[in-house]
């Protein structure tokens, strides 16, 4: 049966959490009622990227982009659009309609027009549970070309030529890593996909695993062929249930088609992939800890060298590549290194996926060529800050990175420039910080995380993160002194220089970078006892200003009954009883309550 229309329902975890799971059933029901069920194809896809506006439903052939779709809207879409052919304008994503109310193509929407989708090329466009749709998009053709026409050394040369660098954050050239492993002779070698994405706020890898799992499998197989490994592991955290389910389906489909197993493409190349589920420890994203965890041990890092490329899993040469790195590989081998090297800038080739979050209008998943400026990402793709508040900084690299202040927004996004600015590329979290955020509080948040996640093996990290957290708590409570800030900086440098693995070495980065760019903000916490962002509870006071309209909402909702005032009269907060929970501030319809 020819299906005259394809309805794509975004089923990435972000849209599922916004209620997209039940949309398919609604479609089934209403299309059946109208008697047109078999004319329409329903496809559950991976993440479309503009998570802030989800859940998405995209209707082809017109390419209409419905945003924030709720169960009750499905009946209208079915009756109006799919039955009568009238586009339901009020449900279409604002920016997807032109001034003349004409439907814009996907790549004409501002959020997408600045992006270049290489790793995310299939995300949101294909059904991740159907290997044929992946093959239709030239999937497994890179692998076929590699196995039938190239030697391992030629594959590595192609990777070196492409200039691809590790997307997990370190930025080490992928081709060189493979080259080491190829040259280390052994009866057995392994490749591992590091899918232990743990940075708070990062979800690039999850979206890739859920939206295009076959590209990860194909990347892993090419890596295996290049170094001479016949066994691959995907280490994914158990906190990603949908990703695990998609990977399992993908592995069984690839096995059934003979793309995994023995004698693939009749070339004598054998390859198997096994899933290993991690319990969600941040340190297991570090490669030696990850290997320890796969071996069944406790996730703890060890000294390097020997590097895993020489002595890795079960003591054999092993390479570990991040999910996004692997997703790029099939495209590079299929389209050629020259094609890939045309994207990005010298030394930083290709694209990077970021999960854009924090105080930003279009929060979601974006993929840009390296060399794009931060300002373009924040303002042109991200749509700027809600309420037109002032941008203070952009935090990259999660708990291992730092903050880049507003005056450096024209920096091109490259591995080196971000490090010079005191931050790092990291795996791709990008958090937008505005004037209503407190830098001390953000540091405290990240240290709270790293302190909890430290494996405890080495003293600088185990004790250092805890002490740094305590010092930040003292500063944010207003009880610190200028000497405390100096001591904090000294300790941060010490922990950075003496920790065993990346977790401890990078844990002080938020502190060091915020001290470099925002030291006055720390100082006002200890000298003037003021929190400029109005966040640190011990230092703020909530007051009602004269824009109060006397609606009584704050008084009704105050959990400790400390707000007095009668209808249509200005209210007053009894600061001696106030617990600074902020309920009144959030509920006030005229923003009359401010923290000072």
């Amino acid at each position: 049966m020819f299906e005259r229309s394809h309805v794509l329902i975004c089923s990435g975890s972000n849209c599922i959490s916004r209620g997209s799971k039940s949309l398919r059933n609604e479609f089934e029901e209403h299309l059946s009622n109208l008697g047109i069920r078999e004319e329409i194809k329903l496809v559950n896809t991976g993440c479309v990227g503009l998570c802030e506006q989800g859940p998405f439903v995209i209707v082809y052939p017109e390419g209409v982009f419905y945003a924030q779709v709720k169960n009750k809207d499905i009946k209208t879409i079915c009756e109006e659009h799919l039955y009568k052919g009238r586009i339901v304008e009020k449900l279409v994503f604002d920016e997807a309609l032109s001034d003349k109310k004409e439907v814009k193509a996907f790549d004409e929407i501002k959020f997408y027009s600045k992006q270049t989708r290489v790793a995310l090329r299939n995300c949101g466009l294909i059904n991740p549970d159907d290997i044929e749709e992946y093959i239709a998009k030239e999937g497994y053709h890179g692998l076929g070309k590699v196995l039938t026409t190239m030697t391992p050394q030629e594959v590595i040369d192609e990777m070196l030529k492409s200039g691809l660098r590790g997307r997990g954050g370190g930025g080490f050239p992928t081709g060189r890593k493979w080259d080491f492993a190829l040259k280390n002779e052994s009866d057995q070698k392994y490749v591992i996909c590091n899918a232990d994405e743990g940075d708070p706020g990062a979800f690039m890898d999850r979206a890739l695993l859920e939206g295009d799992p076959h590209s990860i499998l194909e990347g892993l197989m090419i890596a295996g062929y290049a170094i001479g490994a016949d066994k691959g592991y995907i280490y994914v955290r158990i906190e990603y249930p949908t990703a695990i389910e998609k990977l399992k389906t993908a592995i069984s489909q690839a096995t059934n088609l003979g793309l995994l197993g023995k004698n693939i493409f009749d070339t004598g190349f054998n390859f198997d992939i096994e899933l290993r589920l991690g319990a969600g420890a941040f340190v297991c994203g570090e490669e030696t800890a990850l290997i320890a965890s796969i071996e069944g041990g406790r996730g703890m890092s060890r000294n390097k060298p020997p590097f895993p490329a020489a002595k890795g899993l079960w003591g054999k040469p092993t390479i570990i590549n991040n999910v996004e790195t692997l997703a790029n590989i099939p495209a590079i081998l299929h389209m050629g290194a020259d094609w890939f090297a045309r994207i990005g800038v010298e030394g930083n080739r290709g694209t990077k996926v970021f999960s854009l979050g924090g105080n930003i209008k279009n929060a979601g998943l974006v993929e840009v060529p390296l060399g794009t400026t931060l300002r373009e990402v924040v303002y042109e793709i991200g749509g700027g800050i809600p309420g037109n508040r002032a941008l203070k900084a952009v935090q990259t690299g999660g708990p291992s990175g730092g903050a880049i202040p507003e005056h450096l927004m024209d920096l091109p996004i490259e591995y080196e420039t971000l490090v010079q600015a005191g931050s790092m590329m990291g795996s791709g979290g990008m958090v937008v910080i505005d004037e209503n955020n407190c830098m001390v509080d953000i540091c405290r948040f990240y240290l709270d995380f790293t302190c909890e996640e430290s494996c405890g093996k080495c003293t600088p990290c185990r004790e250092g993160t805890k002490k740094m957290l305590e010092m930040l708590e003292i500063i944010s409570s207003g009880e610190g002194t200028l000497e405390d800030i100096d001591r904090l900086e000294e300790l941060a440098k010490m922990v950075k220089n003496s920790s065993l693995c990346g977790l401890g070495q990078a844990a002080p980065n938020p502190i060091l970078s915020m001290l470099e760019h925002f030291r006055p903000e720390f100082e006002s916490h200890v000298v003037e006892k003021v929190c400029p962002g109005g966040v640190c509870k011990p230092l703020i006071k909530l007051v009602v200003t004269d824009t109060c309209i006397g609606c009584t909402k704050c008084a009704t909702n105050c959990p400790v009954d400390c707000i007095e005032g009668s209808l249509k009269e200005m209210h007053k907060i009894d600061t001696s009883k106030c617990i600074k929970c902020g309920v009144c501030k959030n509920i006030c319809p005229v923003e009359a309550i401010v923290s000072v």
Binding site: M1, F2, E3, R4, S5, H6, L8, E39, Y60, P61, E62, G63, L82, Y83, K84, G85, R86, A105, L125, I126, E132, E133, I135, A136, K137, E138, Y140, H141, G144, K145, T148, L257, G258, L259, I264, F265, D266
Partner: protein, 121 residues
Amino acid sequence: MKSLADLKKIRDAAQKKVTMRGKNDGTRVLVGMATCGISAGARPVMNKFVELITEKNLDTVTVTPVGCIGECSIEPIVEVLVGEQRTTYCRVDEKVAERIFTEHIIGGKVVEDNIIGKFRL
């Protein structure tokens, strides 16, 4: 999977499943499916097009229901878009649909009997 040819065979078959998603440069058949169109019998006409396309396995042709074109008295109205050429047919029934399909969409010759207008976009 024994050879690249095997893979290409799967790809070619599977591409038919996804060509609709993306920019469509092929022929488009628009069927007026507002209340007036439906009551005049647009639905069997659209089904006929869908049926013929399936039969001939033409993945470059799309069929889209559209809203009221305006001339309710001469419904069902069908528009055929080939490149920039737009042809509007009126009073289309299943028989006419079959003619439009064989003579115009496949044969490239407009079915003069049922057109109300022919103009460039």
